[in-house]
């Protein structure tokens, strides 16, 4: 069972959303026509995806592409116009307000781009906010909050006010607040976008290592493809409210679904993303073109899942092609030509 299932979710803003959605479904209207005819704005357009336990799922898109709107459907801060969302198998659209509040407080933690800490409360009280809302006593709250503070390496800052902390530290507090109630799901809405690059990198690393330990199911929003590739086990790319492609970083880089995605990935280094299996040539076609493989030579070898970076390493200092071996068999061959084309992302001639 997937932890989060989003199924055919639409969000149309405007008083005449119901009419608009019918028209969009029946007549396939575009964004501009919907705005013209119904004065309605399409926020999310038929989004479906699932997130498995422990996975980090990145939603990537430019500002205005609907990613923040979509993620707010997952804890029902925004009601969908159509479609269902299931958390741990339960349809959250059918939940009563009480059950929904319990779900938000206990099962889902959220981190915001602008931190959204409560300025009048100490760091500790901010972190313990969700617990306080559930009626947990002050003593246990403080203990859990201090533990969460330690997780984000802010030990000893519990009694400060948020305004006394730097932006990076505030966002750590935001993360600690999301983790304090030990939820199963983390929603992270561009958590590092407002930070400067060094601190962002730092926090990304910390979050990744933290994530290794706690294995929270995470939905991570970003407008930065590099960040999406670094953080995400899988990436969903959004454009104009629509999810245009879902896949691993490698899938998206090697097989972009459309021009929009292709434009996006054009500038991305393929060194660490593309594996040997994606570019290797079958032994037979290599033999047909270049003659048989001479066993006398000491060919460099690699595994199919090794990335281009490894292949470049192996290819330097030798004229010989790299043999890709799997279970003791040679399954493919990578010549220098193939490798260079692979780096460029073009087909070998």
């Amino acid at each position: 069972m997937s932890v989060v299932e989003v199924d055919g979710v639409w969000k149309i803003f405007g008083d005449r959303a119901a009419e608009a959605i019918a028209a969009v479904r029946n007549e396939g209207l575009g964004k501009a026509e919907v705005l013209n005819r119904f004065g309605a704005i399409i926020g999310v357009r038929d989004a479906s995806f699932t997130v498995e336990k422990g996975e980090i799922f990145c939603l990537m898109g430019l500002s205005g592409s609907g990613k923040s709107t979509l993620v707010r459907h997952i804890n029902r801060l925004i009601e969908p116009t159509a479609g269902t969302i299931r958390i741990l198998g339960e349809d959250i659209g059918a939940m009563t307000p009480d059950v929904l509040r319990a779900l938000r407080a206990e099962k889902i933690g959220m981190v915001f781009q602008n931190m959204a800490l409560l300025p009048h409360r100490s760091v500790r009280d901010n972190i313990g906010f969700a617990l306080e809302l559930r009626g947990k006593d002050a003593y246990h709250r403080a203990q859990l909050a201090d533990r969460a503070l330690e997780t984000v390496s802010l030990h000893g800052y519990g009694d400060r006010l948020p305004s006394e902390l730097s932006g990076g530290m505030q966002q750590r507090v935001g993360l600690a607040r999301a983790l304090a109630a030990d939820p199963e799901i983390l929603l992270m809405d561009e958590p590092f976008s407002a930070l400067d690059p060094l601190i962002r990198r730092n926090l990304q690393d910390e979050f990744l290592s933290l994530s290794q330990n706690v294995r929270k199911t995470t939905i991570f929003i970003t407008h930065d493809l590099d960040e999406a590739i670094r953080m995400g086990d899988r990436i969903g790319i959004m454009n104009d409210g629509e999810i245009v492609q879902i896949g691993t970083a490698e899938d998206i880089v090697t097989a972009p679904a459309d021009d929009y995605v292709a434009d996006f990935v054009a500038g991305i280094s393929r060194l660490k993303l593309v594996s040997a299996s994606k570019i290797m040539v079958a032994v037979e076609s290599h033999v047909a073109r270049h003659g048989p493989i001479d066993d006398a030579h000491d060919y460099p070898t690699a595994r199919p899942e090794d990335d281009l970076d490894t292949l470049v390493e192996l290819s330097t200092g030798t004229e010989l092609p790299v043999l890709i071996r799997h279970d003791g068999n040679t399954v493919g061959i990578v010549t220098k030509d193939t490798l260079l084309h692979g780096l460029q992302g073009t087909e070998a001639a």
Binding site: G109, L133, L187
Partner: protein, 608 residues
Amino acid sequence: MSATAALSGAEPREVESRDVSVPVFADRNAGYYGSVFERLQKGELPFWHMNLAGLLIPWIWSAWRGVWLMFWVSLALDVVGLVCLMQNFKYGPLLEDAYLDPSANAILIERYTRWLSVYNNVGIATLVLGRLLIGLQANRWYFGQYSKWRIDGRTAHGVAARRVVIAVLILVLVAPITLYRATQQRIDERACFNQVRAIDGTKRLLSSYGVTEVSDLTSAMAERRDRLVTERATLEASASLTDDQRSRLSAIRREERQLRREIDAAEDFKAVTAKDRLDCLFIDDFPTLARVAPPEDVTYRRVPDEEAVAQGRSGATKVIRQVKDPVEGRTVNIFTYTAESIDIGINFLRAQYAGIFDALTNVLRQSLIRVEVAFMLTPWPVLVGLAMILAWAYCGTGTVVFVGSSLTFLAVFELWQIAMQTMALVVVATAICIFVGLPVGIWMAKNRIANWITEPILDVMQTIPSLSYLVPAVAFFGISQPPAVLATVVFAIPPMVKLTALGIRQVPQSTKEAALAFGASERQLLTKVELPMAVPSIMAGLNQTIMLALSMATISAFIGAEGLGAIVTAALGDAQAGKGLLAGIAIALVAMVIDRILKGIRSSLSRI
């Protein structure tokens, strides 16, 4: 070639350069305006360069080209100039009359001549200089319009006959009547009222005689008079009359008198010329000549209910309704009618719900007494010490000194006890303001309709002169402190409500969203997020409320509230400037002491 391709490939965008578009903007005579605009931009247009159309036909030119600001300015200048010249028609005839007897009217002649020469000079100057100004500015205004049009394509541009038609309509509507008005004297106050009466009376006569034309009416009345005269002559001629005949004679005489009045009325009506009617419509005040019968003069009184008392319910009362006979023929205007109706309404409410008002008065009086006792029986050293400790804890040394010297002022001038009375009133009023204002403010922040209803009410409460609701306050709650407290609440509550609403509204949406995302309910959102974050704003509201309450203390002394204000009003009555000033300063000092201490507390709160 390649550069073009790269550009066109980048982003297809409709960029229409408007630099080449003076012809589109100006439409007719584009060559002239193109060169004028260019010279304007280069700063080469000499200041004496004049737009001939602007000089000669400014209204038509500006309307045709859609430069409405210029249309209105030129219209205003021309009308002002012409109105000045029109005075010739007003004072000219008067002057002529005066010259009939120059020696007797020397003063009048001198005065009218002086006035007329001033009017003529100003009129001609306005016309000439105004036209010159418009002629000089026309191109510059037009260039301004052109710049605006380049940013916003909907700005009026080109030429349009439709706009000229509109302009002519405006001229027709404005100019003749304004100029005519300038030639006429202000008319007699009763003239228009009499005119309306003559018209109404004649209408009644027309229907009672069953004719439609006034000429028919006159002849019918003349006929009737002749008949009556003949009959009377016959009767008077005969030597002896029977009783019947005698009474008939006096009836005829009465009828004749009545008829004469009717004939007079018809004459009055015929004397009303079209000019008179026009004058009454446009030269007199706004034509609100409607007169209605006044509301029934009713008073409600609560008296002991003897029947019920007889049945054993002691102290039972009932409301009785007394109607006074209306004054014969009294008519009032709508203002008086409404005002009297309100009086009757207040009278009714006071009598009908006496219990409620008395209870409320009692509650207020009791709580006032408690607070007053607390303030007045606490030894002054304790209060002074408390104020100074607060000042020391929350504010600087300067404030401590200020608080100390202000309170010394009160003590030295023996105003301490009286100031404490004022304080009691302020404290009770402020407490009510908080208990009512806070929830209303929250409601207002959360509910758009509530905001829509409350906002204008608060504005009225803030701007309505306090003396005007002191009167109904007295009607409902009697005199002295209780109505003073309520009047103070009315005056002082708006900032409390408004700043509470403001504080809650300015809590960032993202913070509220975060609280909801962590499972906050509406109530938790309010108590744990919105209210705490609104505290600085609410404190600012509280501070203002207290200040307003103190300033109201003086005014409520008019209805018998005790305290420093009473000294001020007494000093006003006796023209004792010194007394009034000292008491006024005392009020200001009390206000400033409270203000400084509260500000200190506020800033220590908002440090969080």
